[in-house]
Structure formats: structure tokens, C-alpha cells
């Protein structure tokens, strides 16, 4: 009918179409534009996220240090009293020598606060290690307290009025004098990787978290890898098509989508509550992560096994191999790159997983690195959580720095996975 009316209006079909064509093309470019806008939005957020992390985090990769010669006064420190001794007085006296006009005991204490809280222990450890230093002058290179570190990195502005600033004018003047004397340096902050956690941002490092994450991931790998591969091989190669296999399969798919916090509840109730395993231990964390990683590994392994062509199986069978010989000597080795890729991706997910570790107490405050998988420890993501929750300003940049370290590990692991895939995976 419409055709008839159009014709009667004196327009041909082609004319009618071309009249609307511009509008239709416009509509298409609008759709395309929306698509580009959506992608740009996602990229923009990703860019802002990474930029924020880098711009707040890079400052934590250096640490302001104070280099000072300390005279280990035999009147203050005696050999017999070691490791006790008023090392803080020693540091205080040394600084007072730099600023002779400071005399009230209140100011003297304020002066001491330029040092990080750990400075006296660094000095003590050196003297305990070598008691001959008593009576000599020791050159000490120690972190300054967090506020001064931030001042040096321009995170505390000198233009802020004194009452809103966390450092008084006097303290800034002292610091500038030390800086002028060439005693302030800003070297690379190896402490970020070699120190364990601390209440004081300038001393806090990731060693405990790195070691804890290592043990947890190792446990996770040792459990989820063999069990996951075994399950996948059974389901893909041997399982009869029946109700039980279906149940197992549906079950694994659902397990992959169970919220991670539920695994934490399971670990808390079963591993810690019923089996009496220790809280905060990387072993328990690894066990929990293994349960979560297993479905990922199973799914990846099955896909890898499926991609091995039937001709391989048939050829091996034809030569008289048993079914298991076919699978274990031919199919699995050929599927190995795919299996490894899936495993590494699963482990990378496990490395970033936080919620279940929080529930089993891996967010404890622990100032030494664990010496084994059963010691209390934190993990990288839980350490980030602890630092992100800390009120001290210095922890903001440390948190970003810790996230950058975590992301570097993830990028590295995914890089290996991609390399394996490119290098070894065959197209049949």
C-alpha cells in the first residue's frame, strides 16, 4: 500500500530511499560515536586510575635520609649495659650540637623528632654488633620522620599557615638548616621492599607481605595445580556421560562464580574453627585461595585438552597405547602450554584476592617477615588494605607504591602467560 501512495506522489522507490538515506547514515554514525565514547570512557577511567597511582606512589620509591656523625659517648652508653642504653639521648645531643641555641628540654625533644623513630634502634644495633664503636664517632644514615619526609617531597606546603600545618616554622627552619649543611639526601627507598610493616610510615616496608604472599601462592599452586589438572583430565577424557558427571560439571561452573568472601567464611569455619589451624597463616590463606583457583584451572585445562585434535589420540590408540597412555603421554604434554597459561592467570587472580584473606586474619599487624608458611603474616593485598586504612598521611603514597608493586607482579605473571601462549600454543 505504501508503495502505491509513494508512486502516486510522483516519487520512485530509489528516490524515496535516498531521501531517508542521509538520516539513516547519521543514525549509524551516532551509534558508532556512542561506541567510541563508551570505549573512551573506559580507557579514560583506566588512565586516571593508573595516573593517580603513579603520581601518588612514585614519591614513596625514594626516602628522605639524614646523614649525621654521632659520637657514641662512653658516658651515656656503657659496654656492660648493652643492648640497653639511652641511644635517643645520644641522637638528641648530636642534633643539639648542630643547633647550639636550642636549650629548653621541650625544644630538644622536638629536635629529636626529626629522626625517624627507628633511628635509635639502627644506632643501637650497630653498637651492639660492634661494641668497639663506643667512644668513637659513627656516621649514621637514617630515614627522617614522616612529616619531614613529606616536607622534603613537597607534600607539606611551606605556604600553608603554621596552625594548619603539621610542622611548625621552627621545625622547618631546623630541617632547612640541615638540608643546607648537605646532610639531607633522598636516595632510592630499598626499605620499601626490605623492611617489614611498621607503625611509622618512613620505616614500613613490604617484606612481610611479599614473603606471606609467596608462601600463600606456593601453597595455592601445590594444591590447585595437581587437583585441578586431575579433575579436568577426568572430566574431559574419562568421565562417562551420566548424571554424576553432569552434577560435577554444573558444580564446578557454579563454584567459579561463588563470591570470594564466601570462601573466606568457609575457611574461617572449617580450617580455623573445626581443624584448629592457626589464624593469619599464609598456609591457610593459600589453602583458601586454592579452592578459589581450582575452578579457573579446571576450566582452562579442559579447554586446552579439547583443543588437541582427535587425530593425535587416534594415532596413539592405533599404535596400541592404552587410553591412559594416550592421555598422559600425548594429549596432556601437547595441552601443557594452554594449561600453564590458565594456571598462571588463575594464580595472578589469587595474588590480588583480598576478602578471604581478611576473614582468616591475614590483616594482622606484624613487624617481622614470616619464617615459614605457618607463621602469622600479611599478604600484598591485605597489606595494601592495612595501609589504606592507616590515618598517617605518609601511608597514602606507600599504599599507592604497594599497589604499583602488586600491579607489577600481576603484569609480570600475565606477561609470562601471554608469552607462553604466543610461543608454544599450536594451531592444528
Amino acid at each position: 500500500m505504501t508503495d502505491m501512495t509513494n508512486r502516486s506522489a510522483g516519487k520512485s522507490n530509489a528516490e524515496h530511499i535516498s531521501a531517508g538515506l542521509a538520516r539513516r547514515h547519521r543514525k549509524e554514525s551516532i551509534l558508532k560515536g556512542f561506541g567510541i565514547a563508551a570505549i573512551s570512557f573506559a580507557f579514560l577511567i583506566l588512565g586516571i586510575l593508573l595516573m593517580t597511582l603513579v603520581s601518588t606512589g612514585y614519591k614513596a620509591f625514594t626516602q628522605t635520609h639524614l646523614t649525621i656523625d654521632v659520637y657514641v659517648d662512653p658516658d651515656v652508653i656503657t659496654r656492660d649495659a648493652l643492648p640497653r642504653g639511652a641511644f635517643d639521648d645520644l641522637l638528641e645531643n648530636t642534633l643539639v650540637e648542630e643547633f647550639p641555641d636550642v636549650d629548653s628540654s621541650q625544644d630538644r625533644r622536638a629536635l629529636l623528632r626529626i629522626f625517624s623513630n627507628g633511628a635509635q634502634f639502627t644506632l643501637r644495633d650497630r653498637v651492639v654488633e660492634n661494641p668497639d664503636l663506643i667512644g668513637q664517632t659513627v656516621s649514621l644514615n637514617v630515614p627522617v620522620a614522616d612529616n619531614f619526609d613529606q616536607l622534603n617531597k613537597d607534600l607539606i606546603s611551606r605556604d600553608t599557615p603554621e596552625e594548619f600545618r603539621r610542622l611548625s616554622d621552627q621545625e622547618i627552619a631546623w630541617f632547612d638548616a640541615l638540608d643546607e649543611a648537605g646532610m639531607i639526601s633522598n636516595p632510592i627507598n630499598f626499605g620499601l621492599l626490605t623492611n617489614a610493616d611498621s607503625r611509622f610510615p618512613e620505616l614500613a616496608g613490604l617484606k612481610g607481605a611479599l614473603v606471606g604472599s609467596f608462601w600463600a601462592l606456593l601453597t595455592c599452586f601445590l594444591i590447585s595445580f595437581p587437583v585441578g589438572i586431575g579433575a579436568a583430565i577426568y572430566l574431559e577424557e574419562f568421565a562417562p556421560k551420566n548424571k554424576i558427571s553432569d552434577i560435577i560439571e554444573v558444580n564446578i561452573n557454579n563454584l567459579a562464580a561463588v563470591p570470594s568472601v564466601v570462601f573466606g567464611l568457609l575457611a574461617l569455619a572449617v580450617f580455623i574453627g573445626w581443624f584448629g589451624m592457626p589464624r593469619s597463616a599464609p598456609f591457610v590463606g593459600g589453602l583458601t585461595l586454592a579452592l578459589m583457583t581450582m575452578p579457573t584451572i579446571i576450566i582452562a585445562t579442559r579447554a586446552a585438552l579439547k583443543s588437541v585434535p582427535p587425530s593425535i589420540r587416534e594415532a596413539a590408540m592405533g599404535l596400541g597405547a592404552s587410553r591412559q597412555q594416550v592421555v598422559f603421554q600425548h594429549v596432556v604434554p601437547l595441552a601443557m602450554p594452554g594449561i600453564l597459561t590458565g594456571t598462571i592467570i588463575g594464580l595472578a587472580q589469587a595474588l590480588g584476592e583480598t576478602a578471604p584473606l581478611l576473614l582468616i586474619g591475614m590483616n594482622a599487624f606484624i613487624t617481622s617477615a614470616p619464617s615459614g608458611p605457618f607463621d602469622s603474616a600479611t599478604a600484598l593485598p591485605t597489606q595494601i588494605f592495612i595501609w589504606a586504612d592507616s590515618p598517617e598521611r605518609g601511608f597514602v603514597s606507600r599504599t599507592s607504591a604497594a599497589i604499583l608493586v602488586l600491579l607489577a607482579f600481576l603484569a609480570f605473571m600475565n606477561g609470562i602467560a601471554i608469552y607462553l601462549r604466543q610461543k608454544f600454543q599450536r594451531k592444528w
Binding site: A42, A257, P259, L351, T354
Partner: protein, 458 residues
């Protein structure tokens, strides 16, 4: 000691392997025709030794802790231990353990010292017993396996049966995990419902999980109505979906229909980065950047926005879900048969029209499945909300307000010290149970839709 037991296990298995293999080889060298290759005789012995010994060690390790605890505390006078509540009991036990570990604080009572002494003895004894048991079992198994070496022995079938059993167990292990989840949650939830009536939990309008310090405290009983918590979860989920679905779908449409294959090869991996970033990083981002920015924006417009507004947590979660939605939608669009696409184009539809009126409607079931899975993820997502959402349960639908979610409550209730006998801790398990059930139903439903839809076109 455990390390030593494992070393023993390994050594015995390898020895069994070598011995059997060697025995089988010498049979063959004597001119007999073996049923199985000598390697299979070795493998048979290896499995015969390693499986039972491994199980023995595991069972020992799982139970030794509780058995030792029981033996240590059994002789303690009842008024000092047996009649105590769970909390103090654990404290006493912890003190005994730290005394045994050499960390003595103050002057402990004599019975604690005696118990610590006993603990040390039992531990040493247990370790030696374990070694002895492992050794005995390993030797028996090695000998038993060796005795079976014979020209007619079907070693390959024997070994393969054991391997099949092993991998079967691996597959069933996944079912154990689910059963473990269901059992532990149910068990603790039932304990919770004994203290708090289920009706109050399901329909209560107040969520103030606290336990009274004194009996006569005002509002001491706490309130455990989960409705405000689930409403908060819904608010954040809806925000996340509102951000993720349009962005994800438009991304998928562009990638599927308009992007060149080179652009696809660049854009897809970058999007995948978004899903590879750990959620705690998103949480930190929400707290550090998004929430303050929104607050500032609101202040400029004269609207008061709470510092932990649901909008911040929800929108950041939405960004996290973009690649999830887009890859599901992309798969669904690609699964639509080429003939439909060709047909539409042949009739003169533009590519945009083909997409919007042919491909997209045909792909809707698959997309819906993906969106449902994203919803279940958003409900179960934990770290973003723990860091960026509020702790107080507000019964509100206003996205500018602070709301709390199920996962936030689970984490905050269980962080710190936990004992399994007060409603505050158990409430977390009840919430976990609800979370598990809700996500399970959504997942099953979504997976079914996705599968059914795939079958239609296959």
C-alpha cells in the same frame, strides 16, 4: 618432622619404583614374556606406597592438633578448664602453648606449667609416632608391591586403576568444596537462628549488630534485621549495572560491528586490563579519587553528598564490570548466525540498522545471561565496598547517601577477634548464607540461559 615424613614418603616411593622396575627387568632378561612393561611394575609400586602414606600423613596432621589439645587439657582440674566457656578456654590454651614455646609472661600457675610440659612431650611423641607409622606403612607397602612382581601380573591395569581413582577423587573434590561451603554456612546459620529468630532476621528493619557488654545496657541487645543491608546492596548493584551495562554494550557493539580487526586487537586487551586489576585497587581509587571528586562536584552544585556515597562505590564497581559485560555481549553477538546478518544487509539495511534491529535482538538472551552474572558479581563484590561504602545500615534508596552492603557487614563483623558463640560473629555467617543462596540462584539461572541460547544456534 613433617618435612622429614614427606622426605621419607618420597624416598620410599622412589625406592619402590626402582626396585620393582629392576625386578621386572631381570625377569624379562631371564627370557620370560612380561604382561606389562617394567616401567608399569615400577609405577605400580610407586602408587602403592605414595598414596596410602600420603593419606596417613594428611590425616595425622589434620587430627594431631585437636587430639593433643584434648590430651593436654584432660588432666587439668575441671574448675580451671572444663567448666569454662569457649572464649576463656581458648585463652588458657593459648597461654599454655606460648609457655611451651618458651614465651612466659609473669608467673603462671603450676598446673599451666605442667600442661605446657605435657604439651611439649606430646608434640615430640606425636612427631616420632608419625615417623614410625610412616616408616612401617611404607615398608609394608614396598614389600607387598614387590611380592606381586611376576610375568603374568597385570601391573599396567593395576597402576591405571589407581590413577583413575586419583583423578576421579580430584573431580569429586570440587563437589566437596561446595558441600563444605553449604555445611559450614548452614551449621553456623542454625546456631545464629537459635539466638535470633529467623523472622526477625528476614524482615527486621534495623541492623545494629552488637553484643551487650553489660546486661542492663541501653539498646544492648542489638538488632539483626537484614533488610537495610540488602537494600543497600541493591542500591550499589543497581548503580554499578547502570554504569556497566550501557558502556559495556556500546563497547561490544562497536567492537563487533564497526571496529577494524586491528583496532579490536588493541582495544580488547586494554579492556581486559580493567578486569585484571584487583578489586582492592579499585576500592583505593574510589576512596582516594572518585568519592572526593563527587563530593566536590556536589558541593559546587549545592547538594550534600555523603563522603562514602553509594554513588562512588557503585560507579567504580560499574567500571570494573565493563569488560565483563562487553566480552559476554561480544560473544553473544558473534554467535548470531552469519545468515541473519547477511540477510539484513542484503535487504538494504545499514550496518547500524542490522545491529540494532537484527543482531542485537537475536543476541538478547545471551546478553541477559551475561548481565545476570554481572549482577551476581556486583552483589558478591567485597573490597570496593569495604573501602568505599559505609558501615552504618541506612534504610534508604538515595544513592547520594551512605549505605552498607552484605559483604561489608560480613567483613567488618569478622575482622578482629572471633569466637563462634556470639550472635555478632554468627550473623556474618547468616549473611554469608543469604549471599551464597542469592548468587547461586542468579548464577544457575544465568548459566542456563546462556547455555540454552547457545544451543538454539548451534
Amino acid at each position: 618432622m613433617t618435612t622429614f615424613a614427606f622426605a621419607l614418603l618420597f624416598a620410599a616411593s622412589v625406592f619402590g619404583y626402582a626396585w620393582n622396575r629392576q625386578a621386572a627387568s631381570s625377569l624379562r632378561n631371564d627370557g620370560q614374556r612380561l604382561h606389562s612393561l617394567s616401567g608399569f611394575h615400577g609405577l605400580y609400586s610407586f602408587l602403592c606406597v605414595s598414596i596410602p602414606v600420603f593419606v596417613l600423613i594428611l590425616v595425622w596432621l589434620v587430627f594431631q592438633g585437636s587430639v593433643i589439645d584434648w590430651l593436654v587439657t584432660a588432666p587439668i582440674a575441671p574448675e580451671n578448664y572444663a567448666t569454662l566457656e569457649t572464649g576463656p578456654k581458648q585463652l588458657v590454651l593459648a597461654e599454655i602453648k606460648s609457655i611451651a614455646g618458651g614465651r612466659i609472661f609473669g608467673t603462671p600457675e603450676d598446673w599451666k606449667l605442667a600442661a605446657a610440659e605435657r604439651l611439649i612431650q606430646l608434640r615430640t611423641m606425636s612427631a616420632w609416632l608419625l615417623l614410625a607409622a610412616v616408616f612401617a606403612l611404607a615398608v609394608t607397602q614396598v614389600l607387598r608391591a614387590r611380592r606381586r612382581v611376576d610375568a603374568d601380573f597385570r601391573a599396567r591395569q593395576g597402576a591405571e586403576r589407581m590413577i583413575l581413582g586419583l583423578i576421579q577423587f580430584c573431580a569429586i573434590f570440587a563437589v566437596f568444596v561446595t558441600v563444605g561451603i553449604v555445611f559450614s554456612l548452614t551449621f553456623e546459620t542454625i546456631k545464629f537462628f537459635r539466638m535470633v529468630p529467623p523472622l526477625e532476621f528476614l524482615f527486621g528493619l534495623n541492623w545494629e549488630p552488637q553484643i551487650p557488654i553489660r546486661a542492663d545496657q541501653i539498646a544492648g541487645a542489638g538488632a539483626f534485621g537484614w533488610l537495610p543491608v540488602i537494600v543497600g546492596t541493591m542500591v550499589i548493584t543497581v548503580i554499578a549495572i547502570l554504569v556497566a551495562v550501557p558502556t559495556g554494550l556500546l563497547t561490544a557493539i562497536y567492537l563487533n560491528e564497526f571496529a577494524s580487526s586491528r583496532a579490536r586487537a588493541i582495544i580488547k586487551p586494554i579492556l581486559e586490563i580493567l578486569s585484571g586489576i584487583p578489586t582492592i585497587v579499585y576500592g583505593f581509587f574510589a576512596v582516594l579519587v572518585v568519592a572526593p571528586a563527587m563530593r566536590q562536584f556536589g558541593a559546587d552544585l549545592g547538594i550534600a553528598i555523603s563522603p562514602n556515597t553509594a554513588l562512588a562505590a557503585g560507579s567504580v564497581m560499574g567500571v570494573m564490570l565493563i569488560p565483563f559485560i562487553s566480552s559476554f555481549a561480544d560473544d553473544a553477538l558473534s554467535a548470531v548466525p552469519q545468515s541473519l546478518r547477511d540477510g539484513a544487509l542484503a535487504l538494504g539495511a545499514t550496518r547500524g540498522e542490522t545491529m540494532l534491529s537484527v543482531l542485537f535482538p537475536a543476541a538478547i538472551p545471551g546478553i541477559v545471561g551475561g548481565v545476570l552474572l554481572a549482577v551476581s558479581r556486583a552483589i558478591g563484590e567485597t573490597m570496593i565496598v569495604v573501602m568505599a561504602a559505609g558501615l552504618i545500615a541506612n534504610m534508604t534508596l538515595n544513592p547520594l547517601d551512605s549505605v552498607t552492603t552484605v559483604t561489608v557487614q560480613i567483613v567488618t563483623l569478622l575482622i578482629g577477634d572471633t569466637s563462634f558463640d556470639n550472635p555478632k560473629t554468627l550473623a556474618a555467617f547468616a549473611l554469608g548464607m543469604m549471599l551464597f543462596l542469592v548468587t547461586l540462584v542468579i548464577n544457575i539461572f544465568a548459566l542456563r540461559i546462556v547455555r540454552k541460547y547457545r544451543e538454539i544456534y548451534d
